[in-house]
Every structure is written in structure tokens, then in C-alpha cells.
Symmetry: C2
């Protein structure tokens, strides 16, 4: 694990690392924010919020634009931001579109060739990356997970598939029912093949009926989001939750769009939600 850079931020440290990923069979970069409580003269390991970003993002978008460090520093919460796909693996067509391949790993394990060898972002963010940071950085195995858009889908799916692994989950404008929207259909058919039955394991709305843990879902959505009508479908997730008595709080924010200006406006609420579940307040 190679340290690429360090920036002091709100008394804590924003760091970027590069490491060889076994799950993805390539080198990966990620970012971490360590709050003051994890550093300094009497450091103590702190819990981690894993943040999964959306299409086209890297580990940097959230760290630079969300403004999360201010409150995370106060709460004593670390934040880990992985990249959004394997990088530089030279698969044919991997850079041809913004919503498939590079920058668009969709937090699943691909089964279709040629993607199956490298595109295993689910294993990476659920297992490999937490094991790495918990072994090498001053953080605990108390985890929360959140994300935006494709990353909101990822956060919901990671939490719903792994009872007990996360203390809390939230999402901003998630792709809530990817089996039934253009982004999801393109990604799932490309990474998983055309058998739609295999898609259900990667669709938050379809995971709700068999969820073995009633982890409350906090979902924020802007009403002026340019992708709300065609791609996101939070109502499908809410319907599934209501039918199966799964706790969900969907907050519709009038006039907000899909950008980081939306995320920044409400990230503190999410940090407080996770901090409470993690016993930080």
C-alpha cells in the first residue's frame, strides 16, 4: 500500500493510496479521511463510512466536493472512498461509454466475459478494501456505507446482501431498481448476461423481500434530479419496503438536482445518521 499524497483537512488527514487489488487483478487507488481522533498524540481507531461514488467518478469527487470532512472530523468518523471501477485493464470497449466499463463498475461481480476477471467491485468494496484499511490504518471494523446514484445502488446492495456487516446504510439519489432502468439494463446485461433472474441479486428493490436484517434505509432524493424519471425509481424501493415491512425513510427534496451541490446540502444529516448507529453520539 503506497501513500500517494496527504493533505491536512479540519485537523485530520486526507490521504490517497495505491495498492495491488487481488479482487480486481489491477492496481487501484483510493482515498481516506482520518479524523483528528485517529491521529495525534493519543490516537484511537475510529469507525469508517464507506462512500461509493457514481458514474464517471474516481475516489476524489466526494472528498473534494461533498464537504463531509468538517463534521466527520468532529464526530471522529473516518471516510473511505474507493474508485468506481477497475482501471487500466485494457478490455476492449472499456472506455467507450460513460455508463459501462471504466468509471462504471456498478459494485457487482461480473460473470460475463471479458469482464468477469477484473470487474468485481462488489468483492473489492465489501471485503478486500475493508480488510486492507482495517489492517493498515487506525480504523475499526465498525462500518457504515453510503453512496450516490450508481454508488447509492451499490451501498444499498452491499448492505442488504451482508447482514451484520454494516451498522447503517444511506443513499443519495440511488439507482433504486436497476433491473428496470436503462443504466441498469445496460450494465447488468453487459456484466451478467441476458438472464434477468441473475440480475435480482444486484437490485436493491428485489433484495428487500428476502432481507434478513431490518437495517433502516435512509434515502435522499431531489425532485429536480434530471435522472429521477428515467433511471432512479425510488418509489419502487419504497413500495417493496412497505410490502415487506422494511424500514425506509425516503426524503424528497424539492428543487434539488443530481449534483454534488445536492449531496453537500444534506451530507451532514447522513453523517449524523451513521454516527448514531456507530455509537459516536
Amino acid at each position: 500500500m503506497e501513500l500517494l499524497s496527504t493533505n491536512l483537512c479540519f485537523g485530520g488527514e486526507h490521504r490517497r493510496y495505491r495498492h495491488a487489488s487481488h479482487a480486481l487483478a489491477c492496481d487501484m487507488e483510493f482515498a481516506v479521511f482520518l479524523p483528528p481522533a485517529a491521529l495525534g498524540p493519543e490516537p484511537a481507531p475510529v469507525p469508517v463510512l464507506y462512500w461509493l461514488s457514481g458514474l464517471t467518478c474516481t475516489d476524489q469527487n466526494f472528498m473534494q466536493k461533498a464537504g463531509a470532512q468538517r463534521l466527520a472530523a468532529q464526530l471522529g468518523l473516518a471516510i473511505v472512498c474507493p474508485d468506481t471501477s477497475p482501471r487500466g485493464v485494457n478490455l476492449p470497449g472499456e472506455d467507450d461509454s460513460y455508463d459501462f466499463g471504466s468509471g462504471a463498475g456498478f459494485y457487482l461481480n461480473a460473470t460475463r466475459q471479458p469482464w468477469a476477471r477484473h470487474y468485481r467491485m462488489y468483492d473489492y468494496v465489501v471485503t478486500e478494501l475493508p480488510a486492507l484499511v482495517e489492517a493498515r490504518l487506525p480504523v475499526t471494523d465498525q462500518r457504515a456505507i453510503s453512496g450516490h446514484s450508481m454508488g447509492g445502488h451499490g451501498a444499498l446492495v452491499c448492505a442488504l446482501r451482508n447482514p451484520g456487516r454494516y451498522r447503517s446504510v444511506s443513499a443519495f439519489a440511488p439507482i433504486a431498481h436497476p433491473s428496470q432502468c436503462p443504466w441498469g439494463e445496460k450494465a447488468f446485461s453487459g456484466y451478467l448476461g441476458d438472464d434477468r433472474e441473475r440480475w435480482a441479486a444486484w437490485d436493491a428493490t428485489l433484495l428487500i423481500p428476502q432481507a434478513r436484517e431490518r437495517l433502516p434505509l435512509l434515502v435522499d432524493q431531489g425532485t429536480a434530479d434530471e435522472f429521477l424519471d428515467t433511471q432512479l425509481n425510488p418509489e419502487a424501493l419504497v413500495d417493496a419496503c412497505e410490502r415487506h415491512h422494511h424500514p425506509i425513510q425516503l426524503r424528497m427534496h424539492r428543487g434539488y438536482d443530481h449534483s454534488y451541490f445536492f449531496i453537500a446540502s444534506f451530507i451532514d444529516d447522513h453523517l449524523l445518521h451513521h454516527a448514531q448507529a456507530l455509537g459516536l453520539r
Copy 2:
């Protein structure tokens, strides 16, 4: 003045505009954050913080990375971010380096050809842009000014040259004595010519002796700033202030660098400084 985009943010609005600038003889884009108090059912005009960005920036860096909107929304403070130079004026060599020409207007009025016609960022940020926004947006003529690096230099120079025009001024890691550093020497010789006596009017440290207003200077500087030793020289500014009894508060922040992670960490202090001078608290 053409509205390019609007994003809701902390109950206010982040907007981008394009307009034809007379001072610069080209089209310019700028960004504004309007707090909730300036909008809504009973809007009232609000004071403005003008933010001048550093080398290579556009109107967007501060708006996306500083995290200033949260507190500005609470305080009822608008923020206006101009671009950092004229754009697309097709002067020979304007895009050849990051520290001269495009993205590097240095907030002065060029006198040397071929720059003199377009490179008049001083007139633009001090006069034209405020006149425009005060006529067209719900803001008052109560102004504060701040900036980073090249923009910190700009903020100090604009305030020192215009007694009564700004209620308050601050800077992050300003180029405090540009006549005596590589960035400033390159810019001033290129835009103003080789007569160093003409440079003094654009150098905060050299403006202190004749300052007609004792506007307190708030300056934040990181000790790990990679440009501190070669380009910034806040000590020269402090020395001039001490000799001439000009109030200055230079805050040295151990371990912080030149990035927006540094700005974000302390922007709230600056917003509170300006809010107090503007009578907002």
C-alpha cells in the same frame, strides 16, 4: 446576462451566468451563490463576498470545493466568483503556461501589448462585475473580498487601492509581495513591462505604506504550503504592516498545504469575519 445553470444548495441557489464584459472585451462567465434570505417569499437583498481564485482556476473551483455555502446560507451572505482571466481572446501565447495568460489574469490592468486590450481583470472585479450583479441580482453594495493565492493577492490589492469600497478583506495563502517572486515577476513584466516602479501599484506589501484606510487584513497560511518559501512571502506583508501600523492577523496553520482542503478547513472563520464587518451577526 444569460443564466447558464442553477443548482439548489443549502436552501439557496448556485447559479452560473455568461455576459459580455466591456472591461475585458470578451464574454465572461461567473458564478454566484444566493442564500435563502435573498430568495423565497419575502426576499431581501444581501451583501456579497467577492471571491478571487488562484492560478488555473475558473469560477467553479471555489463553489465546488470550499464548502462555503453551508455557512453563507445561514448568515445570509451572497458569494460571487469571477473567472481568473479573459477567455478566448486569441492572443499569441495566452495558453502557453499555467501562470501567465488564460487562467492567470492577476487582477491587474495590463498596459503592455498585446495584453492591454483584454487583460483588465482589476477593472472587471472592482467595478464592472459588482455593478452588474448589484443591478441584476438581489444583492446590496455592501461588499467583502477574499481570495486564494493569486486571488489572495487580488483581494488585498483591490481592498487596499479602494478605501471604502469593501467592508472587509481576507486572503488564503496570498502572493503577498508579487514584485519579489517568480510568479509575480513573470506576470508583472509580461502585463506591465519591465519598469518595476509601475509594479508597486499592484503589490499588497508595497501598497501598505500609502494605505488611506486601516482595513484589518486577515491572512491564513499553511506551513506545509509548497509555494510558501518561493512565491508567497507573507512575512514581507506583515513587516510592512508593522512598520506602518496597519492591522493584520496572519495565522500560520501547521501542516496545511496550498490546496482547497486547507481553504475548506478555515473558510468558516473567514465568512464569520466578513459577516461581522457586514453587520450580519
